[in-house]
């Protein structure tokens, strides 16, 4: 397993955090449902480049993100369309629209591939943000593993919210029964369920950075945390507010 080393800090980091990050890193390097391991690592690389992309800065300042033309900073092998999707998620996520996702799907970036891409981008970004928050350098990306994607679709799928199909609230059954507990299917939990492993990936990280789905039912304080739920939600609310996230 990949080792995340926080020994450069003057204080300890809970051991479950680097363990979960290491597990995710190994998953990142392997073939997924719709992308190869090399493509998945390239998506992670693109998510880091987004933060230094001059075109993203220019577009973020424009009144409409859809009228400006230009090229993203892109030193990897991914197409401009894929890199554009990655960069929007990092730098201008609140202005992503159904029309953009549909246009991408009609031009080679399927909704299934988009959902897996979202899962990679947000999970790598979140792990990177933890490092930045503590003043640590970012972890080197893993070496891709060989193999082909599975191209496996979950069932049943519905189109009752958002830009992509998802499993229905009562659809976490069979081999996907672990995705959420009955009655815990908040929209954000279902959001990436077109690619169940994308849900598993972020839940695994959320469980150590914030709370597990089960832990979220505790509104006082988790035994394994030094901050209580109010402190957590103040942080969550402030981050969401700065990002202008209505959800």
């Amino acid at each position: 397993m990949t080792t995340f080393d926080f020994s450069g800090l003057d204080f300890a980091v809970r051991s479950d955090i680097p363990e979960a990050y290491g597990t995710y890193w190994d998953t990142l390097a392997a073939p997924g449902n719709w992308w190869t391991g090399a493509e998945r690592v390239a998506i992670a690389h693109a998510s880091r480049e987004a933060l230094d992309c001059p075109f993203c800065v220019q577009r973020k300042q424009s009144l409409s993100p859809y009228t400006l033309s230009g090229k993203h900073q892109n030193s990897g092998p991914l197409s401009e369309r894929v890199v554009d999707a990655v960069h929007r998620i990092i730098t201008d996520q609140s202005r992503i629209t159904q029309a953009l996702v549909d246009d991408n799907a009609a031009n080679g970036l399927s909704k299934e591939a988009y959902v897996e891409l979202v899962g990679i981008v947000v999970t790598v970004f979140s792990i990177d943000e933890f490092h930045r928050a503590l003043g640590m350098p970012l972890q080197e990306l893993p070496e891709p593993k060989s193999g082909e994607p599975t191209f496996e679709l979950p069932e049943p799928l519905v189109e009752d919210m958002g830009f992509v199909p998802t499993l229905p609230a009562d659809g976490a059954t069979g081999k996907n029964a672990d995705l959420w507990m009955p009655g815990s299917a908040a929209n954000v939990v279902r959001a990436l369920s077109l690619v169940p492993d994308a849900v598993r990936g972020w839940q695994q990280i959320a469980g150590v950075q914030y709370l597990s789905l089960q832990g979220m039912q505790n509104f006082e304080q988790d035994d394994n945390r030094s901050i209580n739920r109010m402190q957590m939600e103040l942080i969550a609310g402030r981050v969401s507010s700065v990002n202008e996230c209505f959800y």
Binding site: V13, M161, I205, Y210, F219, R229
Partner: protein, 123 residues
């Protein structure tokens, strides 16, 4: 909404305006609230200099365990906002009067991503 629920559960008086950056409100009823709010804000704004200052302030006030857990929560929500917006999901509890009151108090309906949750008449 979760902040309101956790405050109600623990019978604590809080001021929600801490979520939109008011330092005094953040400190109301929440230990290290001002430092936590500033640290969270600096991470979301991605200002390295301010982040270093706020990290030092939180570490000094609350200690390393709180700093690590706060960094985890902030990093987590840097992800969650991007899942919600990149998939365009609506908020689950739009009909709740408590939710509507919070949205009104904090001016949340002015956010671009509110469109995923609104009907054509703005509700």
């Amino acid at each position: 909404m979760m902040l309101r629920v956790s405050a109600t559960t623990t019978d604590t008086e809080i001021a929600l305006q801490g979520v939109v950056g008011d330092k005094a409100s953040a400190a109301t009823g929440i230990a290290y609230g001002a430092e936590l709010m500033h640290f969270a804000e600096s991470i979301a704004l991605r200002d390295e200099k301010v982040m270093a200052e706020s990290r030092k302030a939180l570490l000094g006030a609350a200690g390393p365990a709180v700093l690590v857990d706060a960094a985890g929560v902030a990093a987590n929500f840097q992800r969650m906002v991007r899942i919600a917006d990149s998939i365009g999901i609506p908020f689950d509890y739009m009909d709740s009067p408590t939710v509507q009151a919070i949205q009104q108090e904090l001016g949340l309906k002015g956010f671009a991503s509110a469109r995923h949750s609104m009907t054509s008449d703005g509700d």
